[in-house]
Subunit: 336 residues, 3 copies
């Protein structure tokens, strides 16, 4: 494929020699001749001067010193994604449909074009939509429903029992978990996650939401569409997330909270209260980001702050004893 | 089942019309006519006024404004659990006994009434008690022992090797992990957990302890009976927990500590010292809860505290320079 | 085996009766007669006085009060490891080679002496070296390469897709993950971990690195040789670790950072900046350990610090109002 042909496919404008052949894609740093790369973050702009890539997808405003073919796009990373799909495609599965070593219950319904790998378990009355991919050793408990084009990675568990017990006289009695999990279209879930079924009703994951590795979603959660839940996030039971919510790695949310739309929650944050739409919070406990930045700056400077307090204490003592020389002895005594 | 019949079964007293039919159970918010609900937390008391439930299980002291049938019980949540078991029962398994697609070593001993799902691996000399449930893709390494009525959810690993190496000249040499894991009766463990076997001796999980999703228990731990370990908790090696210890989500405990009886450890806490009986600790590092509340309140107010220090510094400077006007010039110079 | 024979095998010098029989190994606290134990940490030195062990491996400088046979070694824990291997050996597998219930793709290459347990999935073109152990329900995605003597515990996933999406008009578009994972010789990985494949190129794990349970390694990471990654550690994408780096439990590292050689990162730390060689950092955000110790000491004493500020405020107010009696009224007014 030539640069010109690629540009047409990804909707970019060529600046420079469009006749060169492109056979692969890589990062600016690792690209070799014949590869297309991209610049999506101004932070890496200098790398464009030293890259060995044949062509680079950039925003219209970028004009490097170096002589290099540019593919100008209003969304370079999205254009690069399209180039990578054209050049490499997505995974070719080693088999089609349900592998004979998968365990699919006879009452489960599997949509056309869905691929199920060896060792996956699909329980009674589960419904999988079309063109899903269920990787090895995934477990989907009974009655769960997945939409179309869902991808579930290895060893993830969908619909395991919620963590619900009634404690009576020191004994924890299991509450039947008779709900299910409903996952909408185009959801991807990483490896070794657990999505708990609701005790009653449904745990839901909204359309287009992408979940990373080792994430836990508690029973009865309502996760909105187009959210991003990064690795090792934990969300306790009955939490509601709006749309386009991002939780960075290892963040945790306590139970029964309402997180608004387009909220961003920082890595390792501990969320213990509802969050309004369009907020960004970080820290444990989670605070609005502008406040949190000052809190953590002061936190890391605590030894210096203590020095300032010690200095103040010495100064005040000196002032007080200086005052006592002038006859203010009673007040001075109190100070010490 | 009528409300009166349900009341008899769960040991509650009917106040109102006991002749109505009950066919299901739900939360106050989501209940529909024909369903029984419950009020276990005074925080949700207002919901009883708007619920569509036919009957509500409540504490004896509750008297709503609304005309609704009440089921009075001294432990409403426990009574509700019994109602849910009556109305729905626990999971009906799609097969009985050992599924042919489970991998059970010929030297393993499986108790009567135990259900093993496809893809589960039960290693040499493992002993499972009666009426256990081993969900799909669970791995139980050799020589581990489980009591009766234990439930192990999908993809959990029992008896994996402890993380033990002797480092010599920069190389980490594996120490044989020749102990096992002993799990007592009525333990439930969520999905994708790992319970390490002891290097020597046993890692033990006490009777009635309930473990949530993605929890790690290190080698040689002694977890007491009736503990609650919430999702993503991590406990390092050789830790001892008493009875009725609760660890909230994402809490961590470093190695070789002794945690007393009836201890509660808050979410995301980092425990680095032994904890006495009946303590509640929160925070990282974990502190007694009353102290920690003040620490975290001040922590989130650090920008305000810095302002107070700045104000003090200005005031002291003014006082000192004011004093220097009165002839205390030498001291004043030191102050600046 | 006699104490003398054991000493020869592990390279230790006998002080005391070397003719006694040794049949097992244990900790000082749990050892019984006939067992060998060890003292590697001076903290436990008192236990040597009460142990029931027949012989104890110690550093040359140790001279207990108690009459007990000593095995003197310059590296007692390493010597103990050798004794444990002699006395118990490593795991004897219940089968040799590839178990018939494992799922190995026909294009995968499996080295001699490698053991693959039931339920493990080995994808297309995977290469496993010699003498590896792949435990039950492990998933190795296509094109990944493992060296010799690697050990992968149950339900771990190697080569799952990296978490990479291009977000365009609110929709997250999956970027093909066409790289792989390369694991060098002598790496051990615990249960329920996920090692993401690189989008392009390789995620690499260096020789001799040991990874505990439930660890996540992001796509494109370069983990150096002889590192120790303790349970529930999470490392985001494109992070580089040097050699002999230790991350304690639940620590997290954000993307694209460079961590030097021989770095130690404390439990629950949050690393958000590059780290130089030989550094030790702790805390969230991670700070050099000597600074962090003071920060956290002051942090836990914040209520006391606030009291000191309150006292200062009262003193300054008194000084200011005392000053106003002497005629400094204008300044005094500002102070209040």
């Amino acid at each position: 494929m030539t640069v010109d042909e690629l540009a047409t496919e990804i909707g970019a404008e060529v600046v420079g020699d469009g006749s060169q052949q492109i056979t692969g894609a890589s990062t600016l740093e690792e690209a070799t001749p014949g590869q297309v790369s991209f610049l999506a973050n101004a932070k890496y702009a200098r790398q464009i001067e030293s890259t060995r890539a044949t062509a680079v997808i950039v925003a219209p405003s970028i004009t490097p010193t170096k002589q290099i073919t540019l593919l100008k796009s209003s969304d370079p990373y999205y254009a690069f994604m399209k180039a990578a799909v054209l050049l490499y495609g997505h995974r070719k599965h080693p088999h089609t449909g349900i592998h004979p070593a998968a365990h699919v219950h006879e009452t489960a319904t599997i949509g056309e074009g869905t691929t199920i790998y060896p060792g996956a378990y699909i329980g009674p009355r589960v419904k999988l939509g079309r063109d899903c991919i269920i990787y090895p050793n995934v477990t989907i408990y009974e009655d769960c429903i997945l939409g179309d084009r869902c991808i579930i990675h290895a060893s993830t568990s969908i619909g395991t029992d919620g963590y619900g017990y009634a404690t009576h006289k020191g004994i924890h009695h299991k509450i039947p978990q008779v709900g299910n999990v409903i996952i909408e279209n185009d959801v991807e879930i990483g490896a070794c996650c657990s999505i708990e079924r609701a005790a009653l009703g449904s745990t839901t994951i909204g359309q287009g939401t992408k979940i990373d590795q080792l994430v836990v979603i508690g029973h009865g959660c309502k996760i909105g569409p187009h959210c991003l839940l990064v690795a090792q996030v934990g969300i306790a039971g009955s939490v509601t997330l709006g749309h386009h919510v991002t939780l960075a790695g290892q963040a945790g949310v306590t139970g029964h909270l309402k997180i608004g739309n387009q909220v961003t929650i920082g890595a390792q944050s501990g969320v213990m209260a509802d969050i309004d739409d369009q907020s960004t919070v970080v820290g444990s406990p989670a605070m609005p980001v502008s406040h949190a930045r000052r809190v953590y700056m002061h936190f890391t400077q605590l030894p210096n702050i203590i020095e300032r307090i010690k200095t103040l204490e010495q100064q005040v003592e000196e002032l007080a004893s200086g005052g006592s020389d002038d006859g203010g002895g009673d007040d001075g005594a109190e100070v010490v």
